[in-house]
């Protein structure tokens, strides 16, 4: 936990969202002394209407937002190590977002909720910025993970959860239920990014602990600001409010079978291996699949996201097979698996570099992060095309 006045080196920054706020913030971060690495996250492309409210030019319309920003940042600071991740924040392996600080420049509650969870689990401070153009408001909040400290959801009520964006079965492939774009003006976005950058500067100056739970709301119509301190809510729905202690997995995902992982849990004092269970942050396990055409349910075993990225044919009729919500489980318990399943490699299950694996047993919980390897694929799509798509993915 960060102490008062303790130096805070924000060398690695993860910035999520490259739109109204993020397109300005990325440039500010690239200009900050001490920042050596910037990870940019945004799944979208710039559209013509973005030119009005975001820090881009007409030449960048049509480009992936992260791609356009990487080009710009390299011109600003060629020494900066920039990684672009054109994916939704909720779909990214937890470890890939690891940084010294995270900047949230996103629209909508769902993305903020994901960011909050990621920051808390990684133990990384995060600075959330948002705008409300209709009232000329800019809001910047600071969250520093730690026991007794407020998180984003501490301030949420039932109405906030009810207003979370959702994708309905009848609207697949279309935007979520609540249009997330705030359509912020360029001055508001730049102001929010400026405040975010200034807060980051104060954190680097050693004020991170003092800023935890602070929120500033600037009213652009009256040029007044209100600063508040967010309380930690004992009834917060985000469970336990504990940053995780995450250790590197002492092997590569392709070399360790599932049984070895459960054994590692036993060696870690979680209790007998057969009573240990496994979960992967941000994804669930598919345990059975159904055929669209002929209907039978067959056992399978892989992460749901690995299944999602490939089409599987039914061995009987050739029809497409799919996994429903009823076929998914949060956790795999060793005793519920057969030897053939336990012999499967972690990679074969769809586990990717950067994934954080949680083992739970009678003796407690521990977390391992799967390491990166130069030869290993980084996307679920790449993996599903190779290993997870083979018949070995079947139960």
């Amino acid at each position: 936990m960060m102490g008062q006045g303790e130096a805070f080196a924000a060398r690695r920054v993860t910035l999520v969202g490259a739109g109204n706020i993020g397109s300005f913030a990325a440039g500010f971060v690239a200009r900050m002394s001490g920042v050596t690495r910037l990870t940019l996250v945004d799944p979208d492309r710039y559209s013509p209407e973005n030119v009005v409210g975001q820090d881009i030019t007409r030449q960048e319309v049509g480009l992936l937002k992260v791609e356009a920003q990487v080009r710009r940042l390299r011109r600003i600071n060629p020494a900066l190590d920039v990684e672009a991740i054109p994916e939704a924040v909720g779909d990214i392996a937890l470890g890939r977002l690891r940084a010294d600080v995270m900047l949230g420049c996103v629209d909508g509650r769902a993305a903020r909720q994901h960011l909050n969870e990621i920051a808390w689990r990684l133990g990384v401070p995060w600075i959330d910025a948002g705008v409300l153009p209709s009232q000329g408001l800019v809001r910047v909040s600071v969250f520093v993970p730690g026991r007794g400290r407020p998180c984003l959801e501490c301030g949420w009520h039932d109405a906030d959860y009810a207003a979370l964006e959702q994708v309905y079965a009848c609207r697949e492939g279309r935007p979520p239920s609540s249009a997330p774009s705030s359509r912020g003006t360029a001055p508001l976005g730049a102001l929010a990014a400026s405040l975010q950058g200034m807060v980051l500067g104060r954190m680097q100056a050693g004020e991170a602990a003092a800023l935890a739970g602070r929120q500033v709301v600037f009213d652009g119509t009256t040029c007044t600001a209100v600063t508040t301190r967010l309380p930690c809510n004992p009834d917060c729905r985000f469970p336990d409010h504990e940053p995780w202690t995450i250790r590197p997995l002492p092997a590569r995902a392709e070399t360790w079978p599932l049984a070895r992982l459960f054994q590692a849990g036993e060696e870690d004092g979680l209790g007998p291996a057969h009573a240990v269970s496994l979960s992967v942050h941000g994804s669930r396990f598919a345990t059975q699949a159904r055929c669209v055409t002929c209907g039978p349910v067959r056992p399978v075993l892989c992460l749901e996201r690995a299944w999602r990225t490939s089409v599987r044919a039914c061995g009987r009729c050739g029809g497409e097979r799919f996994v429903t919500g009823f076929d998914l489980t949060d956790r795999l318990r060793a005793s519920a698996l057969v030897p053939r399943q336990l012999s499967r490699s972690l990679q074969n299950l769809g586990i990717l570099p950067g994934d954080v694996l949680t083992l739970t047993g009678d003796g407690g919980t521990c977390h391992f992060e799967v390491g990166f390897d130069a030869g290993a694929g980084r996307s679920a799509a790449g993996l599903a095309g190779d290993d997870a798509a083979t018949p070995a993915a079947e139960g």
Binding site: Y168, A169, C170, P239, V292, F326, L328, D330, R331
Partner: protein, 181 residues
């Protein structure tokens, strides 16, 4: 990590769902045993014995007399919900309804806020299957939506007027309450 708040939620769903099934002539609710001993169930199979519509192989629209769904509450259900992953359509495979696509095991209940109770979900599914409710915007089954737009077809709706839960005062309900703690 054991989430006591979520476990309490699951306990409540089991109690309320079981009470509803006991007070219903239509609903049969089967909790799916958990792989983790001592934990309350997070998955349910629900069978509704009431009238809806099915499409025969020849294309005729006929009455169907029961349907089945699966309900699954993931560990983060109190914080976020993906409606398509919470409720799964399990049959009949030829269900005919604007908001059901049986071939994809999909039923669209619309907005499903995080933490929506099991009983609310069961009521919504019953309303859909019996055509007490349907939404013609963004249909999952365009043919069923077109059918429902014809006034003559709508005249016979809803298809089943029996309530999901017997009215208070009915013997079975009184008996259930008497046996409740």
């Amino acid at each position: 990590m054991y989430d006591h708040v979520f476990a309490a939620f699951l306990d409540r769903q089991l109690a309320d769902g079981t009470a509803l099934a006991a007070a219903s002539d239509i609903l049969e609710l089967l909790p799916v045993p958990e792989a983790f001993p001592g934990l309350p169930p997070s998955r349910y199979l629900a069978r509704f014995t009431c009238r809806g519509l099915i499409r025969e192989a020849g294309g005729q629209i006929c009455p169907g007399h029961e349907c089945q769904i699966g309900v699954c509450f993931p560990g983060d259900y109190l914080r976020r919900a993906v409606p398509g992953l919470i409720v799964t359509w399990l049959g009949p495979s030829n269900a005919f309804h604007p908001n059901i696509r049986a071939s994809a095991a999909a039923i669209c209940l619309g907005r499903l806020p995080a933490g929506t109770p099991l009983v609310d979900i069961l009521f919504q599914v019953w309303e859909l299957w019996t055509w007490n409710a349907f939404n013609l915007r963004d249909p999952l089954d365009a043919a069923a939506a077109a059918w429902a737009r014809v006034p003559a077809n709508r005249a016979g709706l809803p298809l089943d007027r029996r309530p999901l839960k017997r009215r208070p005062g009915d013997p079975a309900v009184v008996q259930h309450r008497a046996s409740s703690p």
